[in-house]
Symmetry: C2
Subunit: 559 residues, 2 copies
Amino acid sequence: MAKLVHNITMKANKRVLIVGGVAAGATCAARLRRLDESCEIIIFERGPYVSFANCGLPYYVGNVIRQEEDLLVATPERFRQYFNIEVRTENEVVAIDRSRCEIEVCDRRTGQRYRERYDALVLAPGARPMRPPLPGVDLPGIHVLRTIPDSRRIRQWIADRHPRRAVVVGGGFIGLEMVENLVGLGLPVTLLERLPHLMPQFDPEMAEPIARHLEQHGVHVELGNPVVGFDEAPSGEILVRTASGAQHSAGIVILAVGVQPESELARAAGLEIGELGGIRVDESMRTSDPNIWAIGDAVEVRDIVTGQWCLAPLAGPAHRQARIAAAAICGRPVRFRGVQNTAICGVLGLTIAMTGASEKRLRQAGVTDYQAVYLHPGCHASYYPGSKRIHMKLIFSSQSGRILGAQAVGAEGVDKRIDVISMAIQMGATVFDLEEAELCYAPQYGAAKDPVNLAGMLAANVLRGDLPLADWNRLYESGALILDVREPHEFYQDHIEGALNIPLSQLRDRMGELPRDREIWVNCAVGQRSYYAVRFLVQHGYRAKALPGGLLTYYGFYG
Amino acid sequence: MAKLVHNITMKANKRVLIVGGVAAGATCAARLRRLDESCEIIIFERGPYVSFANCGLPYYVGNVIRQEEDLLVATPERFRQYFNIEVRTENEVVAIDRSRCEIEVCDRRTGQRYRERYDALVLAPGARPMRPPLPGVDLPGIHVLRTIPDSRRIRQWIADRHPRRAVVVGGGFIGLEMVENLVGLGLPVTLLERLPHLMPQFDPEMAEPIARHLEQHGVHVELGNPVVGFDEAPSGEILVRTASGAQHSAGIVILAVGVQPESELARAAGLEIGELGGIRVDESMRTSDPNIWAIGDAVEVRDIVTGQWCLAPLAGPAHRQARIAAAAICGRPVRFRGVQNTAICGVLGLTIAMTGASEKRLRQAGVTDYQAVYLHPGCHASYYPGSKRIHMKLIFSSQSGRILGAQAVGAEGVDKRIDVISMAIQMGATVFDLEEAELCYAPQYGAAKDPVNLAGMLAANVLRGDLPLADWNRLYESGALILDVREPHEFYQDHIEGALNIPLSQLRDRMGELPRDREIWVNCAVGQRSYYAVRFLVQHGYRAKALPGGLLTYYGFYG
């Protein structure tokens, strides 16, 4: 074990021990040193590595990241040289003696136990992949992915066994990233998701294009079909049994059904644990013990949109928390502002991103006073070659217009729009602010009315009463006349059953054909022409509403 | 001329005439119709087209956009059918009779003049490319680019004459876009810029990589060398004479030296004109005449950062102004919030973007109470293949930390970061907000500490007093010791003359070599290690400051 370098007078100084050195722990340690040269800092890491890029693990499995060392952001040697921080890998903290301000550590290489005293203790143990208690879940060939050794094992398994097919269980971020990487290795992949849609964080209608995209890329997707167990097949493969009765045999199975906070150490020490199982902290990331801080995937945090506690195992917030805990330990006034659940996932050329709350999450939180608009703009000016559609949903407060959340799916420019809206949400912006946003425009980058502007304009039109919206969920029970204002050749290709077709270009001449005593729900391809039509009809006294997002959103709701 | 369709009772209603139908005018007309079915709307456009994508013209010249019709966003027929708006192309408004609320129009095809009465008049005449009054400036083969016919003429000239070399005069947005497109056509290009750096909107040290990039792509760039005149060469080519005495012969010359507002009509009508030559308007885009509005490139607008009037010939603000004028004409309470000069340019794989004020603009406005940080992060996580550097500068208020401006140059991800910072500026955000931004992170999109976060952290470190900054402009007069904390092999490759090299990894052991009575200006590659070193040295009582942005920023200042 490397000895701590005592080249300045720190012996009598504050001693900060950090449990876990992957992401938040490592950042906290480095920040602490920058703020305070005098304290003693030791990182205890159960695994063999500190400061590694765990978000890169799926890409290491897929050999997109080729060298294991590429994943190492900083080595223990670097911590010592740059920061005078001691790192003890393969040393697991097994208990906290709060009354004595001591931890008990087990050196995993020798099995020896020892104790260390702390003035401040930082818990950054992370979260572990869930292994549902299903029959056969521990069969060889069934993998989870959290650490470098995990990914090494998966690589090795594929290299040794040459599996002919893979099953990925779970269609969230890690599941989709694993799908991409297994496909990249040439493996046929089946993706099984318990819920009726992929990306549980998304609203169902926004997730619809994802499954379609995966199928187009040869991935077999089964939704709403929970796995009930695993068997060994006579071939030596694994048989994945599902609730539908279907079985899938595979040479390798990846379990990506979520993570849970590693809060056992904290719980055993009597620290307050939240209802979701995460360590409870205050705004300075301090636990219920004033000498103990907790950061990263193991803690519960406030969702700034709903105000509720949540688990947000995300690297960005983890690093912010780490910096805040470090500053708090140094006595600086700091406050973690909470999370807004900004997240992104790339899968086979599709980008899926969100920020803020989904409708799902709002409903869970009891929020009902919101509305949503849908749009499908190009990622840049349509007149410049190569513009790809972005499917977007913007959710906003019906009263104030405050932006509550956004979801987007598309091939290009998705991350940019979600990042801009994320910044808007952070600053408490309203849809009227999005309308007035001044974003980069040259034809290969955006549009004079950027997708972000368009989302704001649509929402602002709704709030100003200029654009009454129909409700897709009530499509078949509303009794409204469905008016489709696309051109006949478009209508011919596909339309909502029972819809009446009057193209926008003829609407001024033919509005007499429309009933005045019945709601008219106007549809088109993406919601633009229906907006024009609704404006026209409403001003002429018709009870018209627009079906938000047009036929492309219809597909999200009704497949 | 198409007759206005009078299918609803509008004869007695408000009559809105719009002068200019390219961008702002067309948007204003369409928005007006959506807000008010009853008014009569006529667009008068001097040229042959309305609603065309003028930002696409350079790409049409370069044949990236292949068909002229791709540039047409909407046709007069579309305006009539969708919006019941009459469009009169090749009809030039030549005078405004404010006392009678009439305009005088010249039908350019017949030469006939006629008058039309208005209740509201909207001026959207745009801006025209400047043609400096130089000898020979009107020679054939010297082109400006504003309209579809302009770009058609340039295409035709190239097709007919097969020029062997092109000269582009002016290194701003349009100049650089023309360079890209002429290079794309296989033409050797010389770019002449009057100022000592490209992109006049940028600060010089941020523009430095642009010229280098162009040279690497075979473009001959001459800076600080104004054109003094043009001659016909015996070969039939054009001889471009410069102040340095150098001459450049070229088969085609593009003048891209800026635009000036088309405010003559307004001026002749006695409307108030600002000091910069643009039409003066209030917050609802109304001119000094209550029945006349003005929008787009012809008006002066408020810079929201400096509070000063400015000309901002940008499509985004033009469209926002158009919507606001339309709403104002309909009696709605609206307010144009001003511009923040967000702009972007792509040239040969490099993206150049900015938002808010440059240092240059702040100094012009008399603002001195600001600071700037530089950084050079990867566009995404360094451990994922293909991360490219973004050169960034963030300018912020020394007192409040409010973000004043940002500039960025790089191959990828530049537009995203500037858009996020643009939204932050719009919302009055501080650098502390950037520090806490929660942006999309997966390794192919960003980083756990996104470049935007890093910019905020750096600036916040400065404002909290944790990172005293040295001043590159005073490098050679400061008398400070330059300490380079990179490794010896890096130092060997290149360093600031006279610098002392002590690698960060040895600094703890060797700090005794440093003077305590002299300022120490610490340098490294990009500013990260120098930050660590400064934190260490300051806490040990040294008078250390960091040279912001490291050697990569040094190159910006000193080439």
